[in-house]
């Protein structure tokens, strides 16, 4: 398979463009979508690629209403904290009205939001709230860590019959990575084994997958063999994938940038504590962002993110 070096930012757009080519019902809109992706306007026209007023609530609501009546909207809500203006539409409408209506409607739509350290613009542009959506019924949630997955998960998300929240880690967006050519669809609900190991499972998603891989290198030098699991789909969560790794290693460090309390890592740790209990050789440890807004200041923003040394230290502790 041929691969190209593409940024995740571009990979998302490529995935979207391919799906728009494939299915005329796919449309996209957002605050600046038509300006920033003028190439899409040129290919698909101003009806399918639109700028919107500055109003996240109605952008999400319009997507939900359109999804239920025959279109497949992809909306860009820019930064995760702006989702706070669209929670009603995403959670109460897109997430619940399928069930509440007794299955009369479906909501095949995708909402994109950027999040995480990388821009040093502070806590109202950077807030990792993916766990809110994981906690909410009827919604799927993905958060890729590789350029290939940005594209492949975007394609799956667009084809899914359910609303999918697509979280894009800002820190990853502009570093090119390998993307296979062609119709490469990455299934939602399947974790990726990024590195095999036998002593401890490092389970993560988003930019901290890379930090785990670095930590695994540090650990290897000390004779500790770490496995790295990239969840990439946060809902559905690949419980079987997580458990099979932990059943093998007997130890788990769960890592993410989002605050720990009630984060996705809490869920992963709780699943492991319940379902792999008898195989566990050590406590399940979480290494996460603190319970604080991320500061804009560059060193503080970076320190917010779990770094390889912290992850390695945690693994070392439970492997001792």
């Amino acid at each position: 398979m041929t691969t190209n070096m593409i940024t995740p930012d571009q990979a998302m757009v490529d995935g979207l463009a391919e799906e728009m080519r494939r299915d005329p019902r796919v449309i996209t809109f957002g605050e600046g979508t038509a300006t920033k992706h003028y190439e899409l306007v040129e290919e698909f026209g101003r009806k399918r690629v639109r700028n919107t007023p500055l109003a996240e609530g109605i952008i999400a609501g319009t997507a939900a209403g359109a999804a239920a009546t025959g279109l497949r909207p992809v909306v860009d809500l820019l930064f995760a904290p702006f989702l706070t203006f669209a929670m009603e539409e995403l959670v109460n409408s897109a997430g619940k009205l399928r069930f509440i209506s007794g299955g009369q409607f479906s909501f095949p739509m995708v909402a994109i939001a950027r999040t995480g350290a990388g821009w040093a613009v502070g806590g109202q542009h950077n807030h990792n709230i993916e766990s809110w959506f994981v906690h909410s019924p009827g919604i799927k949630v993905v958060m890729p860590s590789t350029a290939a997955d940005f594209k492949g998960l975007m394609k799956s998300a667009i084809r899914d019959e359910n609303p999918v929240m697509f979280f894009a880690d800002i820190g990853l967006l502009h570093t090119p990575g390998e993307v296979p050519e062609g119709d490469n669809v990455v299934p939602i609900g399947k974790a990726a084994l990024r590195r095999e190991g036998s002593d401890v499972s490092l389970i993560s998603y988003g930019k901290t997958v890379g930090k785990c891989l670095e930590a695994a290198n540090l650990l290897l030098a000390e004779g500790i063999s770490a496995e790295v699991i990239d969840l990439r789909s946060l809902k559905p969560l690949d419980e079987a994938g997580v458990l099979s790794s932990v059943l093998k290693t007997g130890r788990a460090v769960v890592v993410h940038e989002a605050s720990g309390i009630c984060g996705v890592g809490a869920e992963v740790a709780a699943i492991i504590a319940e379902k792999a209990f008898s195989q566990l050789k050590a406590p399940v440890v979480r290494i996460t962002g603190p319970d604080a807004p991320p500061a804009a200041s560059y060193p503080l923003e970076q320190a917010f993110v779990p770094q390889p040394d912290r992850i390695a230290a945690a693994a070392r502790r439970i492997c001792a």
Partner: protein, 322 residues
Amino acid sequence: MTTVESIVDRSVTQKLETMLLIRTFEEKSAELKAAGHSPSMCTSVGQEASAVGVISALDERDLILTNHRSAGHLLARGADPNRVMAEIHGKATGYCGGKSGSLHISVKEIGVILTSTIVGGELSLATGVGLSLQMLEMQGIATVFFGDGAATEGIFHESVNLAAVWDLPVLYVCENNQWQAYVHRKETMRIDHISEWGARYGIRTATVDGNDVEAVAAAARDAVAYIRETGKPFLLETYTYRLRGHMEPDDQAYVDKEELSRWRSKDPITALERKLVTDGVLTATELAAMKETVRKKVEAAAQFAITSPYPTLDQLTAGVYA
């Protein structure tokens, strides 16, 4: 499948019968609630002319979005009273299998879709429905019913503005019934008519006496014709009054007695009955027969709801995901 055309007779006597059906249905619901048969629900007593008038102007291809106060819209559109009543009671035979209950009943087969009980929820979805109608060239228009209270939510501003900017075929129907649960409209805005707000988005608007079904129907027909011709949105305000309380039971102790009795005297049903009998369109006997027909339908609906089974427990998680 029930079709809309098979149900919607647009004659004035049919309108009266539908209004009577709504009134009788809702009073029965309230009675059943008081007797402990169902959870609490909202009625639209006093607002029947608005529902029937607007919906009489729509076609089969049009789609309707409504809210917590929906029984009138559902019945006017031809929903089966049995299944609406069963849904209010949370029964498996209800339109949503009992999952909705009274507050978010949708009936896709007759085009009543995406009902939300979040005040403003219907407004947030209507633009999307309008977009589908526009892009998929489905011809119909999206009609969204909402209250004066919903107009004070920010999403009203966002919805109407987007429909205006994108020229979406949406008929915004504000049922201005002077109340927002336990708060009088006048406590929430410095204007009297939601159409004043509508006009500021650069769209056409009108306000009509919401207690006069023929006036509502005429205004709605004009609005619908305009939307079909131009593809642009229109905001129609039906100025009316919520004669019963917000949610059953409600003693209305907080309601100004004088205001209430003034509006009671404008009851849209009594007014229409009187007119049709006076004008000789309907004899007193025919009217009595009509009421009896309606009463029987509603009794049957009550029986149907009461005797229907509850959903089985496997429904707890069925249909969350497609």
